[in-house]
């Protein structure tokens, strides 16, 4: 029973990871930009929802408003910064997004301060009982919402005309230009969609774990997800996100206590600390050595 409880908690956080990772993959596919700032959009999303809430909006409209605001911020970032760096080397672009992350963190720090804030719950308190396991509505709702949204997003990408244009722009931007797709605008759309997704992920995470500046580090947690899933596969990030979420939960719930009791018995080490946050990176190290293209990714051919 305990195992089942851990697994559901893991699925809930994992599905949020997936949501955020999908945004990074979307931007990468479309424009080749690796977005380290994704965590920043998650963080602003949560803070914006909190801010709108304190202006008097009820939680749900506040969350929706936050997603819209952050989507706009994402599109604006693309217009103001990344569109001007089209010809810059990959590494420079990567560092620019890092600068964006630092900047947005500082903005939130200036406005809301460094202390954690109690986040108003969107979902009603209480819990459901499934097969003898109690799961709070929070987790159920977060998991359900982000999985449904991820699937919806995949469907949008697969079946709508806009999704088709997105895929065209991602696949071959020159050919897309030739058939009359405004590729730059598609990239802006990708930024708006992915930062909107991140904002929603941020709001959901804040309802699970509370609101603090630490939320921005979710963007870095998303990188193991992307590497595992394959940098170019949206489906891959969904699967890898869920997988890593569950893995983290099991590490926290089962592996850590076991390891600690062993360490205490045999060495002078008393605690293994936040092992669950390191496991994804260990996995990534292995993955990069064995199969760099990820579970679902394709090995790309590199041109000179």
């Amino acid at each position: 029973m305990f195992v089942l409880q851990i697994a559901t908690a893991g699925l809930a956080t994992g599905s949020v990871y997936a949501l955020i990772a999908m945004g990074i993959v979307l931007i990468y596919k479309c424009s080749g930009v690796v977005n380290f700032a994704q965590g920043a959009y998650a963080m602003i999303g949560a803070y914006a929802a909190y801010g709108l809430g304190s202006l008097g909006l009820s939680p749900l409209p506040a969350a929706v408003g936050a997603v819209v605001i952050v989507a706009g911020a994402g599109a604006l970032t693309e217009l103001l910064v990344l569109r001007r760096m089209l010809k810059a080397p990959v590494v420079a672009v990567m560092m620019v997004t890092l600068g964006i992350l630092i900047f947005f963190r500082a903005v939130c720090l200036a406005v809301w301060g460094a202390d954690p804030i109690a986040f108003r719950q969107i979902f009603p308190p209480g819990s459901v009982q499934i097969a003898g396991v109690f799961i709070t509505y929070n987790y159920v709702a977060a998991a359900a919402l982000s999985i449904v949204l991820s699937l919806g997003f995949l469907a949008f990408y697969r079946f709508t005309p806009m999704g088709l244009m997105q895929r065209c722009a991602a696949d071959n931007s020159r050919a897309a230009l030739a058939v009359g797709i405004h590729v730059s605008n598609q990239v802006s759309v990708a930024w708006a969609v992915s930062s909107g997704l991140a904002a929603l992920g941020g709001v959901l995470l804040a309802t699970l774990n509370g609101l603090s500046l630490g939320l921005s580090s979710i963007g870095l947690v998303a990188f193991p997800v992307i590497v595992l899933g394959g940098l170019t596969s949206l489906m891959g990030s969904l699967v890898a996100g869920l997988l890593l979420g569950v893995l983290e939960a099991f590490t926290d719930g089962l592996l850590t206590p076991a390891l600690e009791s062993w360490f205490r018995a045999h060495t002078s080490i008393y605690s293994v600390g936040a092992l669950q946050h390191v496991v994804p990176y260990l996995l990534v190290g292995l993955m990069l050595l064995v199969r760099p293209q990820g579970i679902f990714g394709r090995r790309g051919t590199e041109r000179v």
Partner: protein
């Protein structure tokens, strides 16, 4: 690049000696600023070698500084002197090589993520390996004993840091004039071309990792002896990002950029803190500092990817141009004094372009 004439080499040497000696004339706060900048600059030189000259981005710089610091701290407590610093360099070199191994197969983004993973794993190890690192309570380090003399004052550490900085700078600049150094540049520009020229790309990268890791380890050793305390928080990701920011702001692929960037990144918060204390708005200013930091990274990469040193160089040229235009009579001496700089600047131009555009 041709070897410098003997006279200018002697001038540089004299300047370094004067700078080291001047450290003893500083007050404590001045010495603190000098050793903070110098130690950060040594780390930035190492990162510049790896990123600016060889094209391998790294986010594991903080972890490498930490490995150097813990190695030196423990050995220093066991009574080692100069040996502790060298051992820290070796430990950094080995760790850097291990972190770099994936880079033999991976490129660009994937390698960046691998270094990020290494950074997180190593900073985690710092926290839990209590027998070695003393965990969160921190490793307390005895003062450094060099050649039978105990270094006790901030001034002494500032002088040591400036001396090591000069030595490192000279050694790295010399390295870039060897075949290995030239191979770095080709690998940065395009790995396939490097292969075509018969350069062993894997071995070249390994050289870059080893040398850069050694220098980073040494900077960690200096850091720990100067602060006498090593805590895991000091070596977390923000330190890596600070170092990356230093070479961006200062100038990638330009040695003086490392020093300029380090000075900028270290002194900016100090200056802001002073102002904040004076006006009692320290908290807000701390946020402003971070904001300025992020914004500067963005702006430099967008508008001046070659950083402060390129900016200063351009400014100097502009001033020289303005002077010669205003006073045509004095034009010939101005032109004559600019001449020795001319050929070197043009020669340096291909070296100082940022990053490879090879694999996109």
């Amino acid at each position: 690049m041709p070897a410098r004439p003997a006279r200018s080499r002697a001038l540089v040497l004299a300047a370094v000696v004067v700078a080291v000696a001047a450290c003893f004339a500083l007050n404590r706060f001045g010495a603190y600023l000098v050793h903070s900048v110098a130690i950060a600059a040594i780390g930035a030189l190492a990162l510049n070698l790896l990123t600016g000259f060889c094209g391998q981005i790294s986010f594991a710089q903080g972890a490498l500084v930490g490995i150097g610091a813990y190695t030196a701290g423990n050995l220093g407590n066991a009574g080692w002197g100069l040996g502790a610093i060298l051992a820290a360099g070796l430990a950094g070199a080995v760790a850097s090589l291990v972190i770099g191994l994936p880079a033999l197969r991976l490129r660009g983004l994937y390698y960046a993520i691998a270094t990020l993973a290494a950074q997180f794993v190593i900073e985690y190890l710092f926290k839990i390996a209590e027998p070695i690192t003393k965990g969160f309570s921190g490793l307390i380090v005895k003062p450094l004993v060099l050649f039978g003399r105990t270094l006790a004052s901030d001034q002494a550490y500032a002088a040591l840091a400036v001396g090591v900085l000069a030595l490192t700078w000279a050694a790295l600049a010399r390295l870039m004039r060897t075949n290995v150094g030239r191979a770095f540049l080709v690998v940065r520009e395009n790995e396939l071309v490097a292969k075509g020229m018969g350069i062993d790309v894997a071995r070249t990268k390994m050289w870059a990792f080893v040398v850069s890791g050694f220098v980073t380890g040494v900077s960690g050793a200096l850091l720990v002896f100067t602060h006498r305390l090593a805590t895991p928080e000091a070596f977390e990701l923000p330190l890596s990002i600070d170092q990356v920011a230093m070479i961006i702001v200062g100038g990638q692929g330009i040695w003086s950029g490392s020093l300029l960037g380090a000075a900028f990144v270290v002194l900016l918060p100090e200056a802001i803190q002073r102002v904040g204390e004076a006006f009692d708005i320290a908290k807000l200013l701390f946020a402003m500092r971070e904001m300025a930091f992020g914004l500067l990274i963005i702006l430099f990469l967008m508008f001046e990817p070659r950083g402060l040193s390129a900016l200063l160089r351009r400014l100097a040229r502009w001033v020289a141009g303005a002077v010669s235009r205003k006073a045509p009579a004095t034009a010939s001496p101005a032109a004559a004094s600019a001449e020795p700089l001319g050929p070197r600047a043009t020669l340096a131009a291909p070296n100082t372009r940022t990053q490879s555009g090879g694999s996109t």
